[in-house]
């Protein structure tokens, strides 16, 4: 149990470091198991240094920087043991346009490297443009959801309507 967790940690940490630097276009980060000699009781610490900045406690990072750091951790775990399905509900909400592009590039990379199917819920037109297909959820009748297939042009109009 304990050795398996340490082995998992080492592999997740390796993925995390490279994903972070990839998503931030620089900088470094690492994971640390802390607070206990027994890894099964330990805590998982994140030490992040965005490019050009001194390492700081996570709380000082901006909303978008925290989101990218958390995403690096989530995808690091994912790459260590890919699941058949990955669902992301509005994870791009705090990101600026350049970071949304990097997030989408990362998704396309995951799509090539794994057999995983992705469901990405988003309000962001950049993310929509990177998807292989789009489904719209509508409420033509109030309080009642329906699913429809949409293409990117319809998506533009779709977002305006509510």
């Amino acid at each position: 149990g304990r050795e398996r967790l340490l082995a998992a940690f080492t592999e997740v940490d390796a993925h995390f470091r490279s994903l972070f630097t990839h998503l931030f276009g620089g900088g470094t980060a690492e994971l640390a198991l802390t607070e206990s000699d027994d890894p099964l009781d330990a805590g998982l610490e994140i030490i992040a240094r965005p490019p050009g900045k001194k390492p700081q406690i996570m709380t000082l990072l901006s909303g978008g920087e925290q989101a990218l750091t958390a995403m690096s951790l989530i995808f690091a775990v994912f790459l260590t043991n890919p699941s058949p399905l990955c669902v992301l509900d509005e994870v791009d909400a705090p990101l600026d346009d350049a970071n949304v592009e990097r997030f989408c590039a990362l998704l396309e990379d995951m799509r090539k490297r794994t057999e995983t199917r992705f469901l990405v819920i988003t309000h962001n037109p950049i993310t929509m443009a990177h998807m292989d297909r789009l489904f719209g959820v509508t409420m033509a009748e109030r309080g009642v959801s329906q699913l429809v297939s949409v293409d990117l042009e319809t998506a533009e109009a779709f977002r305006e309507a509510s």
């Binding site: 330990a42 994912f78 396309e108 489904f135 009642v144 977002r159 509510s162």
Partner: protein, 168 residues
């Protein structure tokens, strides 16, 4: 294992029977605020065996049953079915002879949930293990709820460590 689709009936705002294809690659789900996108994701976690109504934003598990709208009365049950293909990798425990799986969960108001795999009733635990075996499931780190990213950052280090379990 691969998942190929979802069928939702009576779950939250999906009062009409709705088919959701799950296709290879990246599928985007869009729509206005409150139209049901997160409800759709919760239907998926529900059929995977989500046992906490709080994790489905309710104050009781019956809160996932369509409670009525302007025009329609509330329902007494909700059912979600997930279609999967085991691609030859079968664990002996559940439906040992089948590659194609239909996993369904039906909840009846005040009576709780019933799970079935290929029509045959199973326990919630069997379903949870079925998904855990393929690194999936309602609490898989690959199922990122709305707002969960902020929670991961704010989490205590000991809470956060549980994310490693998915990698082990």
């Amino acid at each position: 294992m691969k998942f190929t689709g979802l069928r939702i009936l009576g779950f939250k705002t999906f009062v009409e029977p709705t088919q959701v294809p799950i296709e290879p690659g990246l599928t985007g789900i869009i729509g206005p605020n409150g139209c049901g996108k997160s409800n759709l994701v919760e239907a998926l976690r529900f059929v995977m065996g989500e046992s906490s109504y709080k994790a489905l934003r309710g104050s009781g598990m019956d809160d996932v049953i369509f409670s009525g709208s302007g025009k329609r009365p509330s329902r007494n049950n909700a059912e979600v079915t997930l279609y999967a293909d085991r691609e030859g990798v079968r664990s002996a425990s559940i439906a040992p002879d089948a590659d194609a799986l239909e996993i369904s969960r039906k909840i009846e108001r005040e009576l709780g949930s019933t799970y079935r795999v290929n029509g045959r009733e199973v326990r919630a635990r069997d379903v949870q293990l079925l998904f855990a075996d393929v690194a999936s499931g309602a609490r898989s780190s690959a199922m990122v709820r709305q707002g969960q990213i902020a929670e991961l950052i704010a989490a205590k280090p000991t809470q956060r460590r549980s994310i490693l379990e998915d990698a082990a």
